[in-house]
Symmetry: C2
DNA sequence: ATGCGCCTTCCCGTTACTGGAAGGTCAAGC
DNA sequence: GCTTGACCTTCCAGTAACGGGAAGGCGCAT
């Protein structure tokens, strides 16, 4: 099938599929006129990539996961390790964002938000010393 | 003072300060030999930017916040609106990451993670139908 | 004259695409 | 046979916010 059908089947934009070929994640065939041709297996790989990307795995992690997926003898421990590292990153990011949220919501709550010019948010950004409470 | 001192005072790398000049956030003077010169006020602005960036505001938001900061007649409501929008974005991102974390931790927990090749993580990525529980 | 630590500009690389231009291919309709 | 339209191709540029490094100028001490 052509790239449009592969796009429909995998849920990935055609542009993205071409990009994945560029970086070596998929290797579709070519017809005589230069068009890419995708097998069902190619589409399965693309759907795998779409799912892995939607879970936040990087392209390089996807490459590794795809390699493990296609290696019938891989150890599940290898996969688990990648997923666990990714989970760690997500949890650190959540913690960081929660810290930002706490800081920002404190500032937003303290700002009366009317026409007056005095603003605790700007004062904080400017480094005016203040207690966190 | 020169860029090194401004860097030390503001906590921003010299490269970042030059970049901020490129995008018009600061406008340091120049000496006869072409070196940038920073006033205390410049350093204060740089520190403001460093703080705003560390809270996750984008460069364009920083530009607006800086404009409001330097406008003695601004309404605090304008600042609050920007901060509130940013807070919304942070909360959406947290929710998204929490969703990913839930999904991934489920997968990681279900993977026995030993030398055996069968792996629920890869099965999920490949689209094997399964119940979320 | 040499070395050192500053400073300058400029360009490339990062992540994972997205948009768009310029142009080839194929089937249908007139 | 010609055109239209929907495909397809490659290549180039841009995104956010810098970081790395090259090539070279400046100022001071040895």
């Amino acid at each position: 099938m052509n790239i449009k059908s592969a796009s429909a089947l995998s849920g990935l934009p055609a542009k993205t599929i071409r990009y994945y070929e560029d970086v070596g994640l998929v290797r579709p065939g070519r017809t005589a006129n230069g068009y890419r041709t995708f097998t069902e297996a190619d589409c399965h790989k693309l759907a795998f990539l779409a799912r892995a990307r939607s879970l936040g795995f990087s392209i390089e992690e996807c490459r590794t996961l795809l390699g493990l997926y296609e290696d019938r003898d891989r150890a599940s421990a290898d996969v688990k390790e990648i997923a666990r590292q990714h989970l760690d990153r997500i949890e650190r990011k959540i913690a960081e964002l929660q810290g930002l949220r706490a800081m920002l919501s404190t500032l937003v709550d303290r700002c009366h938000g009317d026409g007056r010019p005095d603003c605790p948010i700007l004062e904080d950004l400017a480094g005016t010393p203040r207690m966190p409470g």
